[in-house]
């Protein structure tokens, strides 16, 4: 299959575009931001729907609580700040006021992972997927490019329940269809294959595409599935793929502990024990550097996915 890069765009801009569109479509959509409007690309929403926008200043805990409150009365709040301040900083507020209370809050988190770059480890959260997926009733979505992030915003606006939407800062290849909707909980088949199943999420989906193209040249037919919904996991699609290929690679910009690989390993251990290799950060904090330097240093590059695929195949 051919993957055509339409352009290079940041996923956070996909969020901004999607937010503006659903703001237009649905007067119940409201947005909150904690002093990072520009970074989250929320400017258009703020400009055209000022009465439905709440600037909270630098008070993320308060913002999450306010969002929970706004649902009481029928609004659909979208909160925007960096992924670290969307999760780690406000975990108990999300746990009690949003998740346990069953509130329809959409927690939208930018600058996730290492590719935030030079700001360094304080801001590079690599544990957020784990924290969010552990909360009962929380839906966790990690789209792979601009178009898919935009589609994700439409999907979560139409979905009733708390959602964590994770996206990032750098410009990356935008290759998914502009018109394809995102179906929550439904994995996206990108390439069918027989030798190994590669499950990737977020920025690493494009790296995985590069990896399968290289593997194909070496005569290895990899199957690539984009897991944009980490929770609820598409168990059926994963088990179907693995029954065929009999070995697995997972790839994500997150700690190995608590990430996508960990969810898939659990599914397989319980249902279909299979050799699995995980491309993820191995129990370390990040550091300052350019996104590409950091992906290389922490073992999240195309070459790492290729090596993991070969190793997984050798373990069959």
């Amino acid at each position: 299959m051919e993957f055509k890069i339409q352009n290079y765009q940041d996923t956070r801009s996909g969020f901004g575009a999607g937010l503006y569109e659903i703001g237009k479509l649905n007067p119940k959509v409201v947005a909150l931001c904690a002093d990072l409007i520009g970074s989250l690309k929320m400017d258009a929403f703020v400009k055209d729907f000022p009465e439905r926008f709440f600037q909270t200043g630098i008070s993320e805990a308060n913002m999450i609580g306010m969002a929970a409150g706004l649902t009481i009365g029928g609004y659909i709040p979208f909160t925007g700040t960096f992924a670290n301040f969307s999760t780690g900083r406000v975990y108990d507020q999300i746990r009690q006021s949003v998740a346990y209370s069953g509130k329809n809050v959409k927690i939208c988190a930018s600058h996730a992972g290492l590719t935030l770059g030079e700001d360094g480890a304080t801001h590079q959260i690599l544990e957020d997927i784990g924290m969010m997926k552990m909360l009962p009733g929380m839906t966790v979505i990690v789209p792979c490019d601009y178009n898919q992030t935009r589609a994700a915003v439409h999907a979560i606006a139409a979905f009733d329940g708390p959602v964590y939407l994770r996206f990032g800062r750098p410009k990356v290849p935008n290759f998914t269809s502009e018109t394809e909707p995102l179906i929550i909980g439904k994995a996206q088949m990108l390439q069918e294959g027989t030798d190994v199943s590669i499950f990737a999420t977020g920025h690493l989906v494009w790296k995985a595409i590069e990896a399968i193209q290289q593997l194909e040249k070496e005569g290895i037919h990899a199957e690539l599935i984009n897991i944009h919904t980490i929770k609820p996991l598409d168990n059926e699609a994963i088990l179907r793929s693995v029954s065929k290929t009999k070995c697995v690679v997972t790839a994500e910009e997150h700690q190995r502990n608590g990430g996508l690989g960990d969810s898939i390993a659990q599914l397989l251990a319980l249902n279909l024990p299979t050799p699995i290799e995980m491309v993820a950060v191995d129990d370390q904090f990040g550091q300052s550097g350019t996104p590409e330097e950091l992906l290389g240093l922490y073992g999240l590059e195309t070459a790492d996915i290729i090596a993991a695929a070969k190793k997984a195949i050798s373990r069959k």
């Binding site: 909270t56 630098i58 030079e118 700001d119 480890a121 304080t122 801001h123 550091q287 550097g289």
Partner: protein
């Protein structure tokens, strides 16, 4: 040379370091750094009793400083290097791969002079209170300083700490706020007005000193007063009226330079306004 003149010369070099550091990596936060340069110069080169030659985490018998608004790391790193905690040549590694000078300060790479990681706002004063209580347990008569941003005052944890410091008589704590009126999304007064900060802290039980944080004489005089008034039952706060971007004319009076790096031409214009007094790194 008078003490004031000497401190101003150091501040000029620190400002050069700041703009050169953020220019070199094309990221980082020059605005707040330039605004707080005079205060940190006065602290590290005049007021604080410290031992930069032999950095010890516990700092027993030394005054301690915590940077809560960690994004102004450029000024912090320059001050630490110029004061002798590490070699000034290391400033060139700011925000680069494998550097000890991370985008936000951290203890993770063991950089001398840094005692706590910061970057996620709102946490520094709590840590400073803990360190101040440790000093009391150690019968240590030195002081603990902490610097915060004004936008940072919007974080609830700051007020938890403010209640604690006054309620538990943490009178060896000297906090300061970089009261520049700016944050990322615009003026603090628009983004989320703070009301009368002085009255708020006073109502909590603090001694508050409003002053011009870019006037070296006023800064050292107020610090002297704060040391005199320490150990009398109340925590103290310096409300530093500063200009974001102070020292570089085109960076003053706007929040534009909160987190933006100058290009080559802007660097040249900035350096032309800042005398090289101690030699560039």
């Amino acid at each position: 040379m008078s003490e004031i003149k000497n401190l101003q010369r150091i501040a000029s070099q620190v400002r050069r370091d700041i703009v050169r550091m953020v220019h070199a990596c094309q990221s980082g936060h020059p605005g707040g750094s330039l605004g707080c340069t005079d205060y940190l110069t006065a602290l590290y080169f005049h007021e604080m009793k410290i031992k930069p030659e032999v950095f010890e985490m516990d700092g027993v018998g030394e005054d301690l400083f915590f940077l809560s608004n960690g994004h102004i790391s450029p000024v912090f790193y320059s001050i630490l290097a110029r004061r002798g905690y590490f070699d000034v040549s290391e400033l060139g590694s700011f925000r680069k791969l494998h550097s000890r000078l991370q985008g936000h300060p951290t203890t993770h790479e063991g950089l001398p002079g840094v005692r706590m990681s910061s970057g996620s706002l709102g946490q520094g004063m709590s840590v400073a209170i803990g360190a101040a209580q440790a000093k009391k347990l150690n019968n240590d008569q030195s002081l603990v300083f902490v610097l915060m941003g004004d936008g940072e005052q919007q974080e609830g944890q700051v007020w938890e700490a403010a209640i604690n410091a006054a309620g538990k008589n943490v009178d060896n704590l000297v906090a300061a706020i970089d009261f520049n009126g700016q944050q990322i999304d615009g003026p603090v007064s628009k983004v989320m007005p703070l009301g009368d900060l002085k009255a708020k802290y006073e109502a909590f039980g603090w001694i508050v000193y409003p002053l011009n944080g870019n006037d070296m004489q006023e800064v050292i005089d107020t610090l002297k007063l704060a040391r005199k008034n320490a150990f009398q039952g109340k925590p103290q706060l310096l409300l530093l009226k500063t200009e974001m971007g102070q020292g570089v004319d085109f960076m003053v009076g706007t929040h534009k330079w909160h987190g933006a790096a100058p290009n080559d031409e802007q660097l040249r214009l900035a350096l032309a306004q800042l005398e090289e007094t101690l030699g560039d790194y």
